[in-house]
Amino acid sequence: MPAPIRLRELIRTIRTARTQAEEREMIQKECAAIRSSFREEDNTYRCRNVAKLLYMHMLGYPAHFGQLECLKLIASQKFTDKRIGYLGAMLLLDERQDVHLLMTNCIKNDLNHSTQYVQGLALCTLGCMGSSEMCRDLAGEVEKLLKTSNSYLRKKAALCAVHVIRKVPELMEMFLPATKNLLSEKNHGVLHTSVVLLTEMCERSPDMLAHFRKLVPQLVRILKNLIMSGYSPEHDVSGISDPFLQVRILRLLRILGKSDDDSSEAMNDILAQVATNTETSKNVGNAILYETVLTIMDIKSESGLRVLAINILGRFLLNNDKNIRYVALTSLLKTVQTDHNAVQRHRSTIVDCLKDLDVSIKRRAMELSFALVNGNNIRGMMKELLYFLDSCDPEFKADCASGVFLAAEKYAPSKRWHIDTIMRVLTTAGSYVRDDSVPNLIQLITNSVEMHAYTVQRLYKALLDDISQQPLVQVASWCIGEYGDLLVSGQCEEEEPIQVTEDEVLDVLEGLLVSNLSTPVTRGYALTAIMKLSTRFSSVNRIKKVVSIYGSSIDVELQQRAVEYNALFKKYDHMRPALLERMPIMEKTATNGPTEIVQTNGETEPSAVEPKHPPPVTQPANQANDLLDLLGGNDVVPVIQTTMPTKPASAGGELLDLLGDLSLSGIPPMTAYNKNGLKIDFTFERANPNPNIAVITIHASNSTEAEMTDFVFQAAVPKTFQLQLLSPSSNVVPALNQGTVTQVIRVLNPQKVSLSMLTYTHKGSPVQDLAEVNNFPPQSWQ
């Protein structure tokens, strides 16, 4: 068989393919060749084949048949083979395949190899994809390498240790002694990875954190050396020496100083120094400053330093570089909770960022703007945010709309402003608002009584313009249904009243019913609105006609509504005015949860909402309730309730109500235990709602002279039965039968309480006893 082609040849061949199909063909041919070559167990060409396989894997073709070959390469003696083998292992294997466990032995041997590069390869692979079993087995080797003097290996071992700790957190203590002199290294690579290791340990365990706090002075010293050391060509990046290490150390200082005054104080000077001396013309300087600012904000720094930090962030905001602005916005978002006032000073810059072209910056600016809204700036901010809502991409609209609603709810200066704002949102971003905003809005409108005329007028005008945005249409039709009379009578104080006739209103609503743009929910709203207008308008015949048409609609929901409304016209016409009168003011419910259960069939669990008005109509109870549900809309609690039909539930306690309604069922009591002066009697009753449950009351009495304290009775039953032990009346059984301790046990189907355990203290010494009770009277079970 000819020698397999080289990787370069393969790459060149694949690049000549002009279509995807051609490429696939070439690759399949090559895969077949590789597979047969693997079968021949040829050692010389194995690494070449695996290299090709890895290339094909990168392009997206399946390469799993090479996994075992990688293992064979790892086991080989040649460095070349090992290199490709480990690379293949990292790319193709993972802990989900059992094959990877076979690597453990190879890695162990390689960790002790004489050549440092082989050891390095093994550490690298273990650190990338070692599973928890592998880590457990090899942690000892890693720890040994952590103490070696070879800096190349030491830094790799440190990162490998981080991986081990992530996989098996219990092993953290093992690495503790090795960390002792990690920070006294001169080699920056080792320093860097050691700081990473320390950071990981501190983040995972508060004990470690406390332990490492004593390293703060050392870290401060290292940082100082870095800043003051002058030019060092090896670690210099754009004039700053080893910025990566500086950033790492700053991060570790942040974690160490977080809630600790002493450490924070020790860091103050160096942080101030870094903040003022770092050059900001290049990205590196800004990276360090950014990290410094975050550290200052997180630890307990003095106020002067904090002001310095926020000012740096403010300067970042004005920087031309977009990355810097993005980073500034992100960190301001993190600090706005704690330093609200300081961030407010930069509000105008932040609001300007809303108009930036960059999507990432816009998103950050939007989040930050919502965080900055308060009672004082609500009007100005809302103007900007609404403008933003108009012009932003669709991906932002939903979040922005929700944010606007929340802010308006919290800080609205006046009801009219609130309603205007919500209307603006509905008209501009109506299709992106969340579903629960419709009922919230309806509730808001109902509660602002004086705005009804204004609201309905504006909504009507909006409807005339555009009926495609469903939330707007739903709210509008609900309002027109409720306040249509105000609309027609033209009595609006806030705005110039418009002249609308009843027919025009009905035209609009009927238009909604037939339009293709309306969803079924919207149609339901429209039909109900038309129905409500029958008591507010005079053109009842037209309404009757519309309602009867929909009595045969294909949509089941519409049909049901129409039929019931028809019935209202015919048989129950006397009730119509009362049923369709204005909705009373609704209480704001806390969540949607409990009210959902209440309203489905008008049944009477005491709900979270108390009715404000007495129920005007009582019968026929069920039908009226159904209609009210329909009229009420989605989440509105039907305020009118019927009288409670049955017993007032004692807040759900009825099932476990032991004391009420237990009928003595004539089961004779029995003595369960009588020893050493302690007598325990069982008396039986049947629980009322569930006759299968026997309620056993134990009476413990003490005929000795000394009382029994710390009396505890425990019972166990076979698995097929269930037992519930309630708390006893007391722990002390008084002496000489002067009183009894009672305790209630509820058992399902008792036949044999097999074990009872009693513990008590008698005359100063604890007594414990185990008894089997099986002489239950036959009537106690069925």
Partner: protein
Amino acid sequence: MIKAILIFNNHGKPRLSKFYEHYTEDTEQQIIRETFHLVSKRDENVCNFLEGGMLIGGSDYKLIYRHYATLYFVFCVDSSESELGILDLIQVFVETLDKCFENVCELDLIFHVDKVHNILAEMVMGGMVLETNMNEIITQVDAQNKMEKSEAGIAGAPARACISCKEHEPPGNAQKHQHW
């Protein structure tokens, strides 16, 4: 922690893909496609940070990328890494490649993807930054390459002889005699 490092060209062809968390092969390809889609839409003068797509994203993760000529270098990181620091890291990576390959271009990455992996392994290990000093990285990579060459040993002698012959041959007869 760095979740993934991807290099792809302006048309979305992957030139290097290294994941530090495990995904199935299909998911990996999907991630590459999705990332390319997100990154290629970006303008030239916007910031280099992006929220990740659905597959590799999540609220904690972002994509930090840099565009050099025909290649995108994308690092997917979580919040424990400094964003500006990663930008610098990408710069160091590219400069290292430049030194190792002498004026690196896309073709170098195509034909020597294993070497690029080796260089990357000296910089990032297990998703964490290992070494940032360019000279140190290059020294180590060179030493390991030398080891490989010495292992080729006798088997490689005819190849090496051919190489030196090639240097005396007139151009036009050049043949490629590399270890791979």
